[in-house]
């Protein structure tokens, strides 16, 4: 069974093979090491001229890649830990994301920044964050999150070759080892495309042969897996029937699949691993409230506690949202539902 890591590596390999303009840059990405999380393993052996190891210079390499994208290449930058993406913010926000618009549509900047986000590995406060919310709502910048739904390698391939804007590609660390969801083989749930987004699709997961769902779970990345586990438990153990909408494109947000779902279920639970305040869930909830008005009867957000991510396993577990937190929030909404 293919895991997310293999899929991502093969997506990169395919992009390098298909288009000579693709260039990879990053720290420690050369063989035999192949990157801190091994996503680039084998690539420098196959394409030594186009897989380039860099100094520890996230700001510099992102600026360099922006210049390369401006002049005809399609650079892919690996930021070793998502926490280090803050070092690349100026290049990304003030140059890469602005150039196409600021130069009146005369240029394009097809630049992809890949980075592993998230905790649950005990790496502590500066190597465990989910910082993608900092990048949401920046005009000209796309944010896409891989998950084990669909084919994350294809998602990455499309980010590199089938769109022309700067794009932050978020890979949760725990996804790497997860097998891709094989919907055909799943006995208790189905997965289908939701909405009409073609390049970065959304997915809808629902229980087979279940009553109409009364709750929408919204998630992305690794939280989509925890939400999937919660969805199954809710059905079998609580008789709460939910459907899960998994987004891959986080920004700009196309809320259509969520709006469609919530208009049927009336209840929304957003699930993310970053801290609660001003997060992705807040934006999703605001969109649903604005568009659906009274059709949205109740909503909650599941997210991390508002502290840095601790190193100690027990502390980290108590800080980051897990399946029980999702179940608890769903029951709270369910209680309101049954009043």
């Amino acid at each position: 069974m293919t895991a997310v890591l293999e899929a991502l590596t093969s997506g990169l390999l395919r992009a390098l093979s298909d288009d000579p303009r693709v260039v990879l840059l990053g720290e420690d990405i050369l063989d035999p090491y192949g990157g801190a999380f091994k996503v680039t393993r084998g690539l420098s052996s196959a394409f030594p001229q186009r897989v380039l190891t860099t100094p520890v210079s996230e700001a510099g390499m992102t600026g360099l890649a922006t210049g390369m994208a401006l002049r005809g290449l399609r650079p892919v930058v690996e930021i070793m830990f998502g926490d280090f993406s803050t070092l690349a913010v100026d290049s990304l926000v003030n140059t890469a994301a602005k150039l196409r618009w600021m130069y009146n549509e005369q240029v394009s900047v097809p630049l992809v920044l890949r980075t592993p986000m998230g905790g649950r590995r005990g790496y502590g406060p500066t190597h465990s964050q989910s910082l993608e919310k900092l990048f949401l709502g920046i005009p000209g910048l796309k944010v896409v999150a891989a998950s084990h739904f669909g084919d994350p390698g294809e998602l990455l391939y499309r980010a590199i070759l089938q769109q022309d804007d700067p794009l932050l590609f978020v890979e949760h660390k725990l996804l790497y080892g997860l097998p891709l969801v094989d919907a055909a083989a799943a006995s208790d749930f189905t997965v289908e495309r939701a909405g009409s987004a073609e390049i970065f699709p959304a997915y809808r997961l629902s229980m087979r042969n279940a009553p109409a769902p009364t709750l929408t779970l919204a998630a992305y990345g690794y939280m989509a897996e925890l939400a999937r586990q919660a969805l199954v438990k809710l059905a079998y153990e609580r008789e709460i029937f939910a459907e899960l909408i998994v987004l891959t494109q986080l920004s700009p947000l196309d809320a259509t699949p969520l709006l469609e779902s919530v208009s049927r279920t009336g209840h929304l639970l957003t699930i993310e691993e970053g801290t609660l305040s001003a997060g992705w869930g807040a934006e999703v909830l605001a969109r649903c409230a604005e568009v659906l008005g009274g059709q949205l009867k109740a909503a909650r957000r599941v997210a991390a506690a508002e502290t840095p991510v601790p190193a100690a396993a027990g502390l980290e577990r108590s800080t980051l949202p897990d399946v029980d937190d999702i179940l608890h929030a769903a029951e709270t909404i369910g209680a309101q539902l049954h009043v």
């Binding site: 700001a59 360099l64 922006t66 009146n104």
Partner: protein
């Protein structure tokens, strides 16, 4: 090699353009902000007049002189500052954010060094013979991304000419209050050959830059040129805190138009001044009459 009269033409174009900007800001023709190139004209003209048509120029917030020396249309630049549809970027970018052909500018100090290094490397990787010139001021040397870029440029042999225009003042702060040690030392630390000059004579700059450009093109590696220079105007529109006598002295001793004009016949010189004066006025009038971007005036 551009002839002496053409060099003068370019110097006068930048001077008249910038004088018009400052005068017309006061009269309300422009909004927002601007940074004029008064006093530094010889740098842009001396360097850019030696480039090939496909070479690339990356510039900063003080970009009007570079843009005009590159051959940019004064009407489009006036239009950009006025927010006209005819502007270089349709009024979206304004004074600091210009792109036309192979000219790029951005208003974030220091950000242009990594950008230019990436541009130069992309050109090299795609087998083009172009070189990239990046202009930065002494103020930008306080930004860390500059040093990451210098490291990359030297390590990866970018065909890049780095031109540091040291006007000895960053907005209102004298450089000696902001910079330890020397500009040359910073560049040399990365193994980038440095040529340093202290002149406002366009011919001297032009002669000095030719071998540097040839070397960047042939050897496909970076070179640096430090041009010690003098800013005659305020940083922006009216924020000059220097004593008037100091600026007057700079104007007396460091004016590129005076220094280069000495070598020209007075009647030819006058002819150029009249020609360029009329050209700048016409460009201003045309831009003023052009429709506003977004339809609101």
């Amino acid at each position: 090699m551009t002839d002496a009269l053409d060099l003068y033409r370019s110097l006068v174009l930048i001077r008249r353009f910038e004088e018009t900007i400052l005068a017309e800001y006061r009269r309300g023709a422009f909004s927002g902000t601007t940074h004029t190139y008064l006093g530094q004209e010889a740098n842009a003209v001396g360097v850019i007049s030696n480039l090939e048509p496909d070479d690339i120029v990356v510039s900063n917030h003080r970009c009007h002189g570079h843009f005009l020396a590159y051959g940019g249309d004064p009407r489009a630049l006036f239009g950009e500052l006025m927010g006209r549809v005819s502007g270089v970027c349709g009024g979206r970018g304004g004074s600091q954010h210009l792109h036309w052909r192979n000219f790029y500018s951005n208003g974030i100090l220091g950000s242009t060094l990594p950008l230019a290094t990436g541009i130069a490397l992309a050109e090299k990787m795609q087998g083009r013979q172009t070189i990239t010139v990046v202009f930065a001021g002494d103020g930008a040397l306080g930004e860390g991304s500059v040093y990451e870029a210098l490291n990359f440029a030297s390590l990866w042999q970018a065909p890049l000419l780095i031109v540091i225009e040291n006007n000895h003042i960053a907005q209102t702060t004298p450089t000696d209050q902001a910079m330890a040690d020397s500009v040359a030392g910073r560049l040399a630390a990365f193994g980038i050959p440095v040529r340093e000059m202290d002149t406002s004579d366009v011919s001297e700059i032009s002669s000095a830059v030719q071998p540097l450009i040839a070397s960047v093109r042939q050897e496909q590696r970076p070179q640096a040129l430090i041009l010690n220079t003098a800013r005659f105007g305020p940083h922006s529109k009216s924020d000059d805190t220097r004593p008037v006598e100091l600026v007057d002295e700079l104007r007396q001793t460091r004016d590129p138009l005076t220094l280069h004009g000495r070598h020209l016949k007075p009647d030819l010189k006058n002819e150029v001044e009249a020609e360029i004066g009329a050209l700048v006025q016409a460009a201003f009038d045309q831009a003023l009459a052009d429709p506003p971007a977004g339809g609101v005036l």
